[in-house]
């Protein structure tokens, strides 16, 4: 087979692959809205963890046909921004009434948002913000406040380690707005404490498995001299617990681990004393979103940022009290 033939074949294969991807992205884009329902396009993140699951299920259960809505749910393919932009564009072309957007990545949304604006489709950001944060491009952002939540973690760390500590941060993927905000809130408090020493930070991509591998190496590179691990989500915190246990240390006494999100698994782990602090990042704001959508469709003005209140859990008892009616 000549080299030329091979190149042609590979190109053909790549094109076919791209087509296949495009087709899956467009699927489910049809269906009329002649039945008097308000069409809502939800550009979602998709499977990422228990938190996201709770959040997106809550949205889906709020915007029901009984409430007068037809929700078109478009989760991203493997957290890929391109698949989100494709879904967003097809919602604009279809002419849905409102678009809800949870962006997997903060940057690169200007063009898409401008298209929606030209088509006079209001866009409401759920949870994830965009960068640069141009409030002219969207109606409002409904989210729990990441900065306040991570500040709560830092405040707890300051009070839990009066004699100081070495700490490590498990971050989400670089460049995501959540990660930047959780760092910002945490660093604003912890950075000002001379006795809290940051030994490093590394991404574990929100994943339990990667977090375990990262913490395993971090403990070795610091001769187990780490007293506090701040995991930016529950899944990574649970991975850190396993790594700490395998290093022969006791999570909760030798190494205290704080996480953000407040999923059921994390609260169970807190109740068992493995985690030391869990800051909730409340995912159940479907009702708020519904109210905002109604206001926007009525032409009312809404605030450009709406904060969803969140709780914190700092003891096994607090976790046990909250566990029975935990929805996520």
């Amino acid at each position: 087979m000549s080299a030329k033939q091979r190149i042609v074949q590979v190109l053909g294969a790549a094109t076919a692959g791209a087509l296949a991807l495009g087709l899956t992205a467009c699927g489910g884009g049809d269906g009329g809205d002649d039945d008097g329902l308000t069409t809502v396009g939800f550009v979602a993140v998709g499977p990422e963890g228990a938190w996201r699951e709770a959040n997106e299920t809550n949205i889906q259960e709020t915007f029901t046909e009984d409430a007068g809505y037809e929700l078109k749910y478009a989760p991203a393919t493997n957290l890929d921004q391109k698949s989100q932009i494709d879904a967003f564009t097809s919602f604009v072309d279809e002419g849905v009434d409102v678009i809800l957007l949870s962006a997997t990545e903060a940057t690169g949304w200007e063009d898409s948002l401008k298209r929606a604006q030209e088509a006079e489709i209001p866009v409401i950001l759920l949870d994830r913000g965009i960068e640069p944060d141009d409030t002219d491009l969207y109606v409002t952002r409904i989210a729990p406040d990441n900065i306040a939540v991570s500040t709560a973690v830092a405040d707890w760390a300051v009070s839990a380690f009066p004699d100081g500590a070495n700490y490590f941060v498990l971050e989400g993927p670089a460049g995501v707005s959540v990660v930047n905000e959780r760092n910002e809130g945490f660093d604003a408090v912890a950075g000002g404490q001379a006795n809290l020493v940051k030994v490093g930070a590394q991404t574990a991509n929100w994943s339990t498995e990667e977090a375990k591998s990262v913490v395993e190496t971090v403990l070795k590179s610091n001769d187990n001299d780490v007293q506090f691990i701040f995991a930016q989500n529950d899944e990574m915190g649970l991975g850190a617990v396993q790594a700490v246990q395998e290093a022969g240390l006791t999570p909760g006494t030798d190494v205290k681990i704080a996480t953000i999100d407040g999923t059921k698994n994390a609260l169970e782990s807190l109740a068992a004393g493995e985690l030391s602090f869990v800051a909730e990042y409340n995912p159940l704001f479907g009702e708020t979103a519904l109210e905002v959508v109604e206001q926007v469709l009525n032409g009312d003005d809404v605030e450009s940022s709406i904060v969803v209140p969140s709780a914190t859990f700092d003891s096994p008892e607090a976790a046990e009290a909250a566990l029975p009616d935990r929805k996520f």
Binding site: V10, A16, E171, W206, E209, S213, S221, G248
Partner: protein
């Protein structure tokens, strides 16, 4: 190793000529960098439970899943194909086992049953690849791309979109346990890799795979059963990926449907190429693939150990890989040799003239 080597000196020379030699050099260099940062990096001590503990042990454990998928990929690439579905087969295997174990009692029996289930499911996915490639005659790139996309979707369906967790001591032991002080995962991965190596190199199987990769027509005329061999190779690749999925999920006993095995097909291809297997097919080296897999694990661990920032991590890895590929390239090496020879000749000539 070369069969012609007679003494240790010749064996060493044969090793240097191997492409994966540069992979070994790269591993050594990365370890050296870590050693500079912390002189105790290579120290392996005996932990509280009588097992070996150390950074090197961590690397071996992290390398285990990559070794398996790299070995499978190596055989597929030898036939001139490629298997993009390994990462997705991993997540399906993880999903199947976690979903099964979350409803099963915590006994060694259910652990083994989960393992059996994984073998069946991953072999079935491999068989779909095999049918598409060998019977239908589709391009391997397309066939396995289909399973790559469908597989992750399948995993989401199996777990209902959730990251499922389960408890089973036997299953957990596979990824976290120790035998003779060494991690079980690494021993298993090595055992499977050696078994594969012996299977294909001690029989004519390896030659036949290479024959298909070199020239399918000539191979058929020579009486090689192309269809059956391709079928076998894709099934083997699937089963090995299934085991890799077990290793990855059992380490934390949670399957993460969007992250488990994500983009690991690229790691596998990289390991295979570092090991000196040509993507054009017709030639393969299993030892090389294992070296490549260990290199990738070393690289991942080094990034964390050195504390390279999250945003710079991909760039750091890319630089290491590019430098390694340049070192392996025959053309670059020749250019270096010529320059060195030229430099050596000039003083010689000057000496003669004097």
């Amino acid at each position: 190793m070369s069969a012609h080597a007679h003494g240790p000196a010749e064996a060493l020379k044969a090793l240097v000529r191997r492409q994966y030699f540069w992979g070994i050099v790269a591993i050594a260099l990365l370890l050296l960098v870590n050693l500079v940062k912390d002189p105790g990096y290579l120290a392996v001590s005996i932990g509280s439970s009588g097992n070996l503990v150390g950074n090197v042990i961590d690397i071996l454990r992290a390398a285990a899943p990559v070794i398996l998928i790299a070995v499978g990929m190596c055989l597929v690439v030898a036939t001139g194909g490629i298997d993009l579905s390994v990462g997705s087969v991993m997540v399906v295997a993880g999903a199947v086992s976690m979903e099964f174990l979350s409803g099963a009692p915590d006994t060694p029996g259910s652990g083994l049953a989960a393992l059996g289930l994984v073998v069946v499911v991953s072999a079935a996915l491999g068989a779909v690849n095999g049918v598409l490639v060998s019977v239908v005659g589709l391009q391997p790139f397309i066939s396995t791309l289909v399973i790559m996309l469908a597989g992750r979707g399948l995993a989401k369906v199996i777990t209902g979109g959730q990251n499922t967790a389960a408890t089973n001591e036997t299953f957990r032991w596979i990824a976290n346990g120790y035998v003779l002080g060494l991690p079980v995962v690494f021993l298993l991965a090595l055992l499977l890799a050696v078994a594969m190596g012996l299977l294909v190199r001690r029989s004519a199987l390896g030659l036949m795979l290479e024959a298909i990769g070199m020239d399918p027509k000539a191979a058929r005329l020579a009486g090689v059963n192309r269809r059956a061999l391709l079928f076998t190779v894709y099934i083997l690749g699937g089963v090995l990926a299934g085991f890799a999925g077990v290793f990855a999920t059992a380490s934390v006993m949670t399957v993460d449907v969007s992250r488990t095995g994500y983009q690991l097909e690229l790691d596998a291809i990289l390991a295979v190429v570092i090991g000196g297997t040509s993507l054009a097919g017709g030639k393969f080296n299993i030892t090389g693939a294992v070296v490549g897999a260990i290199l990738i694990a070393t690289l991942d661990k080094t990034v964390v150990f050195l504390g390279v920032s999250s945003s710079a991590t991909p760039a750091f890895k890319a630089v290491v890989i590019v430098v390694l590929c340049l070192l392996q390239s025959e053309r670059v090496r020749r250019a270096f040799r010529q320059r060195r020879a030229a430099a050596a000749r000039t003083p010689e000539r000057e000496a003669l003239a004097a």
